[in-house]
Subunit: 290 residues, 2 copies
């Protein structure tokens, strides 16, 4: 059976580093602060918020939850965002998406300050991700995938990788991040002719399609590494991933579980991004004061 | 033997449409204008400039060549760019890249107005390309590839595509544009384990690696469509592509030549982008005046 690779050790290591960074900043009188912008009270948002708040507490980041009414107008929403952009005490801004339909994300995404945009909402950060420019912020979940692969010593350079799912939040960015590490990515999706075949070619298989247990044994090459980004409820209401774990685990050399896999790492990346943002902003401020 | 698919009919069709659009704009008193920013006088830049000027003349776009001294300082370069950003008579700006080394592209790319950036220099347009948001400008060469495929009725949806080359100017954007059309892209590069094998899987093979005649018959699946983006000089100083045309042409169902292939289409895309920029800017101006 393949090794089950858990998210916790990865998250713990990142958390330790971030915690030290926060201590150093606090010694200089700087308190990194994350603003979480939530419209309404969707259960998914609340669940992630709880995790983010816990992580903030662990590392010493000050959180601020900005809860906005579900019927907030676009203008008012943008005003709230601008307030956070202008607030020198706020270093990172996380906006829960998708926003309600009456708020136009294609407009709003231009209104978040790129240097505070810790989860890659702004097209500027998407552009940086595309270019492989690490002065920006890639979305937290794809970065979590990369950190797991690195933590468990999975060779990326030259690896054939198949990514199932082409979303802007996971599939595409994870493919680009892997490409930046010199892997050879193939991106599959609903219109792909033969996803199982493309997957069987992969040394590393990343499932991010949101289909419960889609990935079966016939998708997996012997000794492939399988990363499951899915978080779904099956027909019995049980939490499961995009990978049929029991069916696949014998064939994989390494496999992430759901839960306790990728999802456990995401908020530690968020915390790391807040600290990165904080450092960049305080350095810029220091330069401006010289 | 496969059908040789030339760029000219594609460019002619696009040119016709653009020409009509320009006439309509001129009837309303608007003259679309493209500023070409060239530092020094590199032969490659001059060659492309000649082509662009010819295309502008054909469709009625007014060109303005801004030739800058090779030793221009970064500040002065940015000032020139800002002048063009602010000039309401200029609708599109093309900056020849790579710039000389003392000019930092990673800084300068933020200084071009995204709405005038007709060849995807700005990270905002890269972000839009990444998202599949067609309010932006993708780089002209990858768009030329897409237009050739569409003109010659190559089915994109569900097609397995291998792109050889992962540059920000061709490889990556062409893969993303193909993904937006529901193809299944694989991106190969220097570290790919077996590029020939990955290529043999492709219904459509796009070569954009800059290696003279790298792609031989063993890279090509029977009846694949082969698109050659390469423009190289071989050891005898003869112009050639990344595909060994004579070696491959029997196996391919359709194949672009070099020259007379992709390169013939690029400036027509540039012209189309200038007109698109002009329309967007005049509409915005009209709205502001209401």
């Amino acid at each position: 059976m393949g090794e089950v690779i858990y998210g916790k050790p990865v998250a713990d290591k990142i958390t330790e580093t971030v915690k030290k960074d926060v201590e150093e900043l606090k010694n200089r009188g700087i308190v990194p602060k994350l603003a979480i912008v939530r419209v309404g009270a969707k259960p998914d948002d609340l669940a992630y918020e709880r995790g983010a708040l816990k992580r903030c507490e662990k590392v010493g980041i000050e959180p601020q939850v900005v809860e906005l009414p579900e019927d907030i107008s676009q203008d008012d929403f943008i005003k709230e965002l601008h307030k956070l952009n202008d607030d020198e005490m706020v270093h990172g801004i996380l906006v829960f998406r998708p926003l309600p339909k009456h708020l136009d994300e294609s407009v709003i995404k231009y209104e978040i300050a790129p240097e505070k945009d810790v989860d890659c909402f702004s097209p500027v950060n998407e552009g940086k991700l595309y270019e492989g420019d690490d002065s920006g912020f890639s979305p937290c979940t794809p970065v979590a995938v990369m950190e797991i692969l690195k933590h468990y010593d999975v060779k990326l350079k030259g690896a054939d990788v198949t990514v199932i799912g082409a979303s802007n939040v996971v599939g595409k960015p994870v493919a680009l991040l892997l490409l930046n590490e010199a892997a050879t990515p193939t991106i599959c999706h609903i219109d792909t002719k033969d996803t199982a075949k493309a997957s069987r070619n992969a040394d590393i298989l990343v499932a991010a399609c949101g289909v419960p247990r889609l990935v079966k044994e016939n998708f997996v090459k012997d000794s492939a590494v399988v990363i499951d980004v899915g978080i779904n409820l099956d027909e019995n209401g049980k939490l499961c991933g995009d990978v049929d774990f029991d069916n696949v685990k014998e064939k994989a050399s390494k496999i992430t579980p759901v839960p306790k896999g990728v999802g456990s790492v995401t908020t530690s990346i968020l915390a790391r991004h807040v600290v990165k943002a904080c450092k960049m902003q305080t350095e810029k401020l220091a330069e401006a004061l010289v």
